[in-house]
């Protein structure tokens, strides 16, 4: 962004082990989204290092970044970000398409992940025909489809009511139980409590980094 660059993060040093479920918390402006974007290779760091699964992430051009995102990362956004003219299944199959997976295999995999999030029978529906919670579950299925190393969720429950939020968190916990590494940016304490580790950010530095006892979302569903 050139001359008007802003130092949002001022020295973040932390590592995430495989299979962790980490909540990144902080008030707006604390740098949590920037951190997630850097982790997601959507933003660049100007100082420091970032290693993902032993691969140093640096000097990325757009093509390389796209390739890494596709292979290593799954994104879940607050506003779902489904492609509205594609059916649920096509949305889920999209990352596989970029991996040049064959059409048939793509559909099978997409259906498998849709089944995992409990939306198999909605496979042919357009996003506009789904509820908010369903959309987010399709988005999660899409993030999982490419079998990424890390799942990055930016306020995944931000646009959902609390009951639906817990359903989504229940799904995320189950995925985590299956061994996936997940990072969630949130400002809701109850959502953060459903993770295994909470990192508090304030003004671009880590205020607190603690392991917590996970609250299972299933009891609220």
């Amino acid at each position: 962004m050139g001359s008007n660059s802003l130092h949002v993060l001022k020295g973040i040093d932390f590592s995430v082990e495989e299979g962790e479920l980490v909540a990144i918390m902080g008030s707006s402006g604390s740098g949590k989204s920037t951190l997630l974007n850097i982790l997601g290779m959507l933003d660049e760091l100007d100082e420091g290092t970032y290693d993902l699964d032993g691969v140093p992430i640096k000097d990325l051009n757009e093509t390389k970044a796209a390739n890494y995102r596709n292979k290593f990362l799954g994104f879940v956004f607050q506003s779902f970000n489904l492609i509205n003219y594609k059916s649920a299944m096509e949305n889920v199959a999209l990352p596989l398409y970029y991996q040049r997976v064959g059409r048939k295999e793509r559909q099978e995999k997409a259906l498998k992940y849709l089944e995992q999030v409990g939306l198999k029978e909605w496979a042919g529906h357009l996003p506009s025909e789904l509820s908010g919670g369903q959309k987010q579950r399709v988005a999660i299925a899409r993030a999982l489809a490419a079998e990424p190393k890390v799942l990055l969720a930016d306020e995944p429950t931000g646009a959902l009511d609390s009951k639906t939020s817990y359903e989504v968190m229940d799904l995320i916990q189950k995925i985590n139980d299956a061994g996936n590494t997940i990072l969630i940016v949130t400002h809701e304490p109850d959502i953060a409590d459903m993770c295994k580790r909470i990192v508090h950010l304030k003004d671009g530095v880590i205020l607190e980094d603690k392991k917590v006892n996970q609250v299972r979302a299933a009891q609220y569903v």
């Binding site: 997601g40 959507l42 757009e62 970000n81 999209l94 398409y97 970029y98 059409r103």
Partner: protein, 419 residues
């Protein structure tokens, strides 16, 4: 590149806002339609004019004598002279690339006094003393009997080939005419054939009122000695007569002691030059058709480019999502380019088909309503269609280029933030 999913996506995107797509496509459709129609109209005009030239050997010039305008070698100006038979031999000998050199003599003219008599019937016709080659320079159909031949020339036979209108003026309907005699200026000639000229120059009627007799017998019968009234000279196909005519002029000027700079003494009409002028006119017409057509097409292409920019703008967020999911910038660029090319080609094809229908309709009407002067069979050939398709692909590429670049110029993170 041409996999099913990409095509599905192209169709999905273009049909998402069908009305807008059709309006956009119309610009290109219209452009190519205009281009095709202009080219076809030009071709129709060309065909019409060419039909008027008929089968005449166009690489031909006619040469006659005029008054000498410069005194030279002791001879005064304002002198009149005649070509001689010897000039023909000299021209043959000294000029390369000639096909026919036909000396001609002429008697009488259209609307002149009666000069041909048969029994009680008389008529005024143009009589030509000619060599047999003339039929290749001024094509005519021999409808009965035969045309002049070399033996007629050698033996100075008094034979005549008459136009079909000469026949109908001098003979009753159904009357036998081959082998009968007609009197031309009181000299008997035997009719050996009739001809019909397919001329559309407006003198179609007069063209059938001529009589051809052997050059040698003409000279003898009408006391022309070795004079030659005028000549029709045709060059071989790849040597334009225009290029070698000066050589011919120089030979006859030398033979008749005419000042080399005398521009007026040798009169001529260069059919090739006229024909080339007409040809270049059609070249210019075609150029104008392409120019106008492509300009109209260009505005259509700009329309496509414009709409693609809007599509890209509308899809900024979607493109951001795709890139976050790992689609490479090149793949996105390709997608936009293909959408643009596809739209251009589809609408262009529709334009070509429509153009073909219009041409078909025009030909149908032309056929039904009979020949229209100077306009025959408008058409475009396959080459033009190929060129049009090439233009379409290239313009589609151009139309998509700016939008495709703008699609990947936005960083994915910014694209994701747009609403």
């Amino acid at each position: 590149m041409f996999n099913k999913d990409r095509w599905r996506e192209i169709i999905q995107v273009l049909t998402a806002n069908l009305f807008r797509t059709i309006l956009t496509a119309f610009g290109v459709f219209w452009g190519i339609l205009i281009l095709i129609i202009l080219l076809a109209a030009g071709k129709g005009l060309e065909n019409g004019i060419r039909a008027d030239f008929g089968d005449i050997a166009t690489n031909t010039m006619f040469m006659w004598t005029q008054k000498v305008t410069k005194a030279y070698k002791g001879l005064p100006k304002d002198r009149v002279f005649d070509y001689k038979v010897g000039d023909v031999a000299d021209i043959w000998e000294n000029v390369d690339g000639l096909r026919f050199v036909s000396p001609r003599n002429q008697l009488g003219s259209f609307g002149g006094a009666s000069n041909v008599v048969r029994g009680l019937k008389t008529g005024a016709f143009t009589i030509y003393g000619d060599y047999p080659e003339i039929i290749k320079q001024e094509p005519m159909d021999i409808t009965s009997g035969r045309f002049l031949n070399q033996s007629d020339i050698n033996e100075k036979r008094k034979v005549a080939v008459i136009g079909i209108d000469v026949r109908s003026s001098l003979y009753e309907k159904g009357e036998a005419f081959l082998g009968t005699y007609i009197k031309i200026n009181n000299v008997n000639f035997m009719v050996i054939g009739t001809y019909k000229k397919s001329s559309a120059n407006g003198d179609g009627e007069n063209a059938q009122r001529e009589i051809y007799v052997p050059f040698t017998s003409f000279s003898q019968a009408f006391n022309r000695g070795d004079s030659v009234g005028w000549m029709a000279i045709t060059a071989v196909d790849d040597v334009p007569i225009t290029d070698i005519k000066e050589q011919i002029f120089n030979i006859v000027k030398e033979n008749h002691k005419i000042h080399p700079d005398d521009k007026r003494a040798v009169g001529h009409f260069d059919l090739n030059e006229q024909f080339q002028r007409v040809n270049s006119l059609f070249g210019a017409l075609e150029l104008i058709a392409y120019f106008v057509g492509i300009l109209v097409l260009l505005s259509g292409v700009i329309g496509v480019s414009n709409i693609m920019l809007i599509v890209v703008k509308e899809r900024t967020k979607e493109i951001g999502i795709r890139r976050a999911l790992g689609e490479s910038p090149w793949s996105i660029k390709k997608q936009i380019l293909m959408e643009s090319i596809f739209l251009t080609i589809i609408s262009g094809m529709a334009g070509i088909v429509m153009g073909a229908l219009v041409i078909y309709g025009a030909n149908f009407v032309l056929e039904a309503s009979g020949p229209v002067p100077m306009f025959t069979n408008p058409n475009v050939n396959l080459g033009v269609v190929t060129v049009a398709l090439m233009i379409l692909i290239i313009s589609g590429l151009f139309a998509g280029f700016i939008p495709a670049n703008s699609a990947i110029k936005v960083r994915p993170i910014d694209a994701l933030r747009t609403e």
